[in-house]
């Protein structure tokens, strides 16, 4: 164990800045980590024991996926400069909010169960399409991560889809709450499909064409919302910024909690 962990700054940040593929890896990893962290906040607070376990399992899936992306990214950073001691922990715990590239959607508060499950639905329905393209990537390491993650995402999608339908087609109260959640979350759903410059630059390797994904995603939404008795909002003005490090205030609070231990006790392990 190294005495002090190297900070994410200077040389590491510069290497990432120069390599769209590394930025893409961080983008994918950050989406998983922040969504996973939000899901983990339900641990011990779930509405019923069985669902508490379900969402905690989902949190662990996400955090596992984040680790895969961070491990790959840190290996590649080291390949560019072997003198850098960069690990998955450096990337998760020692970057500041402006270095995180996750979607704003991922960092929004959990709210109630409707808002939480609708968020997981939005993210997993996007990721379901995203990873299906990523498994065809010419980057075999990336394709391998996508293949492993795709199975997990398939279950997250199944689980969250069912909750959206259950709540939308449930009682008056549950339908109301779901509609409120939709009003709150909707403006953040478009960001996933707006290409950041590193996505464009890496697209020949990643095999991801966001415009195509967007069409498939709208179709998925139509079907599920019809069953849930929800209207797909027509509003097309979306919040963006997360992909390039411009976040809501919520991310700072997440990082403060998540990174506290490593920053207060650098290199701490158990």
């Amino acid at each position: 164990m190294s005495q002090t962990m190297i900070q994410y700054e200077g040389r590491i940040a510069q290497i990432v800045q120069e390599d769209p593929m590394l930025q893409f890896l961080l983008y994918a990893g950050d989406n998983a980590l922040i969504t996973g962290h939000r899901c983990s906040e339900w641990c011990g607070h779930g509405p019923i024991l069985e669902q508490d376990i379900a969402i905690s399992n989902i949190a662990l899936d996400y955090i596992g996926a984040a680790r895969n992306f961070y491990q790959l990214a840190s290996t590649r950073i080291q390949q560019k400069d072997a003198s850098l001691e960069v690990t998955e922990d450096t990337l998760a715990y020692l970057r500041d909010a402006w270095d995180f590239k996750n979607l704003l959607l991922a960092e929004l508060p959990n709210g109630d169960w409707a808002q939480t499950t609708l968020r997981v639905y939005f993210i997993s329905s996007f990721q379901w399409l995203f990873y299906q393209e990523l498994i065809k990537s010419t980057d075999t390491d990336l394709a391998a991560i996508a293949e492993k993650t795709l199975k997990e995402v398939k279950y997250h999608l199944r689980w969250s889809r069912e909750w959206v339908i259950r709540l939308g087609d449930g009682t008056e109260e549950s339908a109301n709450r779901l509609r409120q959640a939709l009003t709150f979350l909707w403006p953040f759903t478009g960001e996933a499909f707006k290409e950041a410059s590193y996505e464009t630059a890496a697209s020949s390797t990643t095999n991801i064409q966001l415009a195509n994904l967007h069409e498939s995603w709208k179709q998925e939404l139509q079907e599920v919302f019809a069953e849930a008795g929800l209207e797909v909002p027509t509003q097309q003005a979306f919040q963006t910024g997360g992909k390039t490090g411009k976040h809501t205030e919520y991310l700072g609070y997440i990082l403060a909690e998540m990174q506290f231990l490593q920053r207060a006790y650098p290199g701490a392990s158990w």
């Binding site: 024991l49 069985e50 376990i53 379900a54 399992n57 199944r158 069912e162 259950r166």
Partner: protein, 119 residues
């Protein structure tokens, strides 16, 4: 009159599980389900435990999350607990004790000729 006994009746049949698991179900509580897991192909499903769920689909998902997170299974059955009928513990004596002195019902009671193999 035939009285039905439900799973979970033991020792509280007057004012407990029997009432909860029938029509007097509390509207805010999801029904109880029994979960059976097959650990690998070719083996039987075994009772793993029980859980709450709003319907069969959710029960299977919950079972997946509660009982197979350490690779315990390849197949899940669920059945609502109220559909399981149990023998009455009060009648355990009449039910099971008569078998206790019938050792000849075990194959090991009989001496087999040595020529018989693989028994």
């Amino acid at each position: 009159m035939i009285r039905k006994f439900y799973y979970g009746d033991y020792g509280e049949s007057k004012h407990g599980a029997a009432d909860i698991s029938t029509s007097n179900q509390n509207k805010h509580e999801w029904p109880l389900w029994e979960v059976f897991i097959r650990s690998k192909q070719g083996l039987d499903h075994k009772h793993a435990g029980s859980l709450h769920a709003a319907d069969a689909a959710m029960a299977i998902e919950n079972a997946r999350d509660v009982y197979t997170r350490r690779q315990e299974g390849v197949s899940i059955w669920v059945v609502e607990s109220k559909h399981i009928h149990a023998s009455n513990p009060d009648e355990a004596g009449a039910f099971y004790d008569p078998a206790s002195d019938k050792v000849y019902r075990h194959p090991t009671f009989y001496d087999l000729p040595d020529e018989l193999q693989y028994m």
